[in-house]
């Protein structure tokens, strides 16, 4: 006998009416969530994931309208009045949002906000409510639960805030919890801890769960079943193993294959990309939503489109799933090691000699970069990885001259450039370019691409003729896969990926020697990220420029880099070639970082190392090792009192750590990725 589903969505349609047009946000979405089941929903931005969660909670904006059925334990939520809905919302169905900081009221104590929930929904007295709140916080492993309820949201870290939000959702012991990208705003080590916690709580409270994310790795970790959404439709659902091992819909395949993951490196594979981008859907459109970007489309895509059962519990909306001419389903991963390219001429393009960068005044000084020694070889890619606040961006910005170093020397091609941009020669400015994280903010919205890309050419290459510039701009736009027609477009008329490619074009238009890439793909969707990464790889091969590639995403760093540097609190933890750092890490922080990355492949599981607490306050002067407070392999007092020595593992590989060599070897043999 089939058990009753907690949630059953039947042919849900949602559309938004705007000034000019009607946009279809959800189309014929049918899903179900069984008791104690975790359903993961994956899709790129704009695919209707969040709209779905808002529709379930009846939180749609005023211009949104929905039709269909949302059955929660047999009761149709869409038929309920707003007042009746109150009984379910936050009580039987709870929701956790992406940004914990904006979901908590900054002017009320955490305790007060938690108490309100049970006082309203369960009619508790304030005393009883406080008791329940503290009990729940203890379930969430928040050490000092009694102390935390007295604090305000800004007094605790982002990870803690998200745990408070989860606690708030759990207070009424809901039957269904909806989590909308709850860890996207968090660091990878914090994310790992929260994900473990969510899994544990789900068991403990017998909840069902809908987990929404763009990150396949994360969804794999927490869910039993996965639904893939594209442009407002569910295109494939199935058990997570089936989805990963035997994806049927071309979009699912493309999405899985465009994410860099362990073993996927630039030397072996080119990432899969999906041409085009997610567009809005008009009311008239029918057929497969993916047809415009699909490489395997044919005439049946429109007529015979519809959800079909492919295997037990595995449904897909692609007619072509039955076809035999569809090429390889999975990205082939060659697990072999990469030969380290020994460059005969070891010429350094960049040298950092004991560079410091402080912000603020004495007394409240933030040590963003706290003594970095580094050399970068010509024609190589250095991946700089670390969590937010570790000073990786500041280091990149100091190199590009946005601010001069507080102390220390930066040598670029032998020239001392430890000054700000104002004092640098035009030649240095030309050869050192920066690509920013957010392309929407790095391209001036008032100018056309011709003006944006042409300006550095005029300013730094001295090309005065407009015709000549235009010819060069068209060339470079072609290289980044933007057509000639883009020359007169403004950034607003481009998608996120196109903007970032235009930014890459601007940087490459004056052929620099060194390009600092500051998280250039972290604001982009997976498929777009893949195309930008491929582009960067191609351009590097062609131009011979060096990259300093800054990212928090180890998979991306692993894909692109030759050397990897791991930073923590303004200092280097570990430096080495990609094989050395990822293959045989020697620093406990690298080990923790590697273990925290959720793997795309559900068949591979690894134990996560849970780091305690949060990084220390950067305004404090740290005497010993910056990581000692959170280190799971701390050996003793020496870690707090003495700065860790530089330990050379090989000619190209070193760590800063007090651990005795045999312990480091243990880390290395356990292997992260």
């Amino acid at each position: 006998m089939k058990t009753e589903n907690v949630l059953e969505i039947k042919e849900l349609n949602v559309h938004y009416t705007t000034l000019t047009t009607t946009v279809v946000a959800l189309k014929d979405v049918s899903l179900h969530v069984g008791p104690k089941e975790a359903l993961g929903i994956i899709g790129e931005s704009g695919c209707g994931k969040s709209t779905l969660s808002y529709a379930i909670m009846d939180y749609l904006p005023l211009n949104g309208a929905s039709t269909g059925q949302i059955l929660f334990k047999g009761e149709d939520l869409l038929a309920l009045s707003n007042k009746e809905m109150q009984k379910f919302r936050g009580n039987r169905i709870a929701m956790v949002y992406q940004n914990p900081y904006s979901s908590l009221n900054p002017s009320l104590t955490i305790g007060f906000q938690l108490e309100e929930v049970t006082m309203f929904h369960r009619g508790f007295t304030r005393e009883k409510a406080r008791e329940t709140a503290i009990e729940t916080l203890i379930d969430l492993h928040l050490g000092d639960a009694v102390g935390i309820v007295k604090r305000y949201p800004h007094q605790i870290s982002g990870g803690m805030q998200q745990r408070i939000c989860i606690a708030m959702a759990l207070l009424c012991r809901p039957d269904l919890m909806i989590l909308d990208e709850p860890t996207t705003a968090l660091d990878v080590t914090t994310e790992a801890v929260i994900l473990d916690l969510i899994l544990e709580l789900k068991e403990k409270y017998d909840m069902s769960m809908i987990y929404i994310s763009h990150d396949i790795g994360v969804v794999n970790k927490v869910s039993d079943r996965i639904a893939i959404m594209y442009r407002g439709e569910v295109v494939e659902t199935g058990d997570k193993k089936a989805i990963f091992d035997d994806p049927q819909h071309p979009y699912t395949r493309a999405l899985i294959n465009c994410i860099p993951r362990s073993g996927v490196v630039k030397e072996h594979v080119k990432l899969n990309t999906i041409p085009g981008y997610v567009t809005r859907r008009s009311a008239e459109e029918s057929g497969c939503p993916f047809v415009a970007r699909c490489e395997q489309k044919n005439s049946t895509c429109e007529e015979q489109y519809g959800m079909k059962e492919w295997a037990e519990n595995h449904y897909t909306a692609c007619d072509r799933a039955y076809a035999t001419d569809v090429p390889a389903k999975k990205l082939q991963v060659d697990e072999g090691s990469i030969p380290d390219t020994g460059d005969a001429e070891h010429k350094n393009v960049l040298e950092l000699d004991n560079v410091y960068r402080y912000f603020g005044h004495a007394g409240k000084r933030v040590r963003a970069v706290d003594g970095i020694n580094l050399t970068m070889e010509r024609n190589s890619v250095l991946g700089v990885v670390g969590e937010s606040g570790c000073g990786k961006s500041t280091m990149g910005h100091t190199v590009t001259g946005l601010y001069p170093p507080t102390k220390g020397r930066i040598l670029f091609d032998g020239t001392d450039i430890s000054v700000s941009w104002r004092k640098r020669s035009p030649d240095v400015l030309k050869n050192l370019q920066l690509i920013f994280q957010n392309p929407g903010r790095s391209l001036n919205p008032s100018f056309t691409l011709e003006q944006i890309i042409g300006r550095p050419m005029k300013k730094l290459l001295g090309i005065e003729s407009k015709q000549e510039r235009r010819k060069l701009i068209i060339d470079i736009l072609k290289k980044v896969d933007l057509g000639e027609e883009y020359i007169s477009r403004k950034p607003k008329q481009l998608s996120g990926g196109e903007m970032q490619r235009a930014a890459v074009a601007r940087a490459f238009s004056i052929s620099p020697n060194l390009l600092v890439c500051d998280e250039p793909t972290s604001a982009l969707d997976a498929s777009v990220q893949a195309s930008v990464l491929n582009l960067l790889v191609d351009l590097q091969k062609e131009s011979g420029a060096s990259y300093m590639f800054i990212s928090h995403d180890l998979n991306v760093i692993n894909y692109l880099s030759d050397q990897i540097m791991v930073m923590y609190l303004g200092r280097i933890c570990e430096y080495g070639t990609k094989n050395e750092v990822v293959g045989s890490p020697h620093h406990p922080y690298t080990e923790a970082l590697l273990s925290a990355v959720p793997d795309v492949d559900p068949t591979k599981t690894r134990g996560t190392i849970r780091l305690k607490g949060a990084p220390p306050n950067p305004t404090q002067k740290i005497v010993g090792c910056p990581f000692s407070g959170r280190c799971h392999r701390k050996i003793g007092k020496i870690c707090d009192t003495t700065p860790p020595p530089k330990v050379d593992i090989s000619e190209t590989h070193y760590v800063y750590c007090h651990l005795p060599p045999h312990e480091m070897d243990i880390i290395a043999t356990k292997k992260g990725m």
Partner: protein
């Protein structure tokens, strides 16, 4: 531009405002050649006639001058001075506000304090005193004084608009390719603050009209016989009971123009600032 038109279509108040404003601009440009009297012409036989009588649409004042003609001629001076004032004060405000905001620190403090001192004196009082001392206001002196009185407010708006753009990455990108500060301020940043700046100019336009009318009313505005709406109100104040039209119509002219511009400016701020 398309959405601008669509949004205009959906807001009747803005349409009313814009229509009245266009009507006044038309009156100022072509009115004088269409009316049958000039602003100094005295109809000696028809003093203080009621509106509609003896060919005087809005009646005549104590000197037999046609009220309608004087209002139409008056729209010329008031619109000219107000337009010049709003442009001039915005121009000065942008330069001062941009320099203060862009360089920050001591430069910012220096300019802000000067602006604070100017702002401490109400604009009306400031203009009144200065114009009173200078005597014999002309269009030029009126424009300059009112512009100075309004510059602190526009400087603050411009500074605020600059600060929202100052820390964006495109400014960083311009810096590390070695652009000059002038270039960054006026080529990179200015076009992106155009929304608030245009809104400020239109709002300032309405304020200027109020100010000029008030100054005229207080007797330090343009000197007779130049037709000035504010002055027309005060000149005929004593006969308001016997000949209310001599006061009511100029007052209505002031009110309609100020309200029309305010309505349109509200709409602009909704469209232009939210869009960016």
């Amino acid at each position: 531009m398309n959405t601008f038109y669509l949004q205009l279509k959906k807001s009747p108040l803005a349409i009313i405002g814009l229509s009245i404003l266009l009507l006044w601009i038309f009156a100022a440009l072509f009115g004088p050649s269409l009316v049958s009297y000039t602003y100094t012409e005295m109809d000696m036989h028809n003093q203080l006639v009621s509106p509609g009588e003896q060919g005087h649409l809005l009646g005549t004042d104590a000197l037999g001058r046609d009220v309608f003609s004087r209002i139409i001629y008056g729209s010329r001076t008031i619109l000219t001075v107000a337009l010049l004032t709003s442009l001039l004060s915005s121009f000065a405000g942008i330069i001062i506000g941009f320099i203060a905001g862009y360089f920050g620190g001591l430069v910012d403090t220096f300019f802000l304090r000067i602006m604070d001192i100017l702002m401490a004196i109400p604009p009306l009082v400031l203009s009144m005193v200065v114009l009173g001392i200078l005597g014999n206001s002309t269009i030029l002196s009126l424009t300059i004084i009112v512009s100075i009185a309004y510059t602190p407010a526009t400087a603050r708006v411009a500074r605020g608009a600059l600060l929202t753009c100052k820390n964006t990455e495109y400014v960083d990108a311009a810096r590390i390719r070695g652009e000059s500060n002038i270039f960054i301020m006026f080529v990179e940043i200015l076009p992106n603050t155009i929304g608030p700046v245009i809104v400020e100019i239109t709002a300032r336009f309405a304020y200027s009209i109020m100010m000029i009318a008030s100054l005229g009313f207080l007797g330090v505005g343009l000197q007779p016989p130049t037709p000035d709406w504010g002055m027309m109100v005060i000149e005929n104040k004593s006969i308001i009971r016997s000949a209310p039209w001599t006061v009511v119509y100029p007052s209505l002219a002031i009110a309609s123009l100020v309200i029309a511009i305010s309505l349109f400016s509200d709409f602009l701020s909704k469209v232009m600032i939210n869009e960016n």
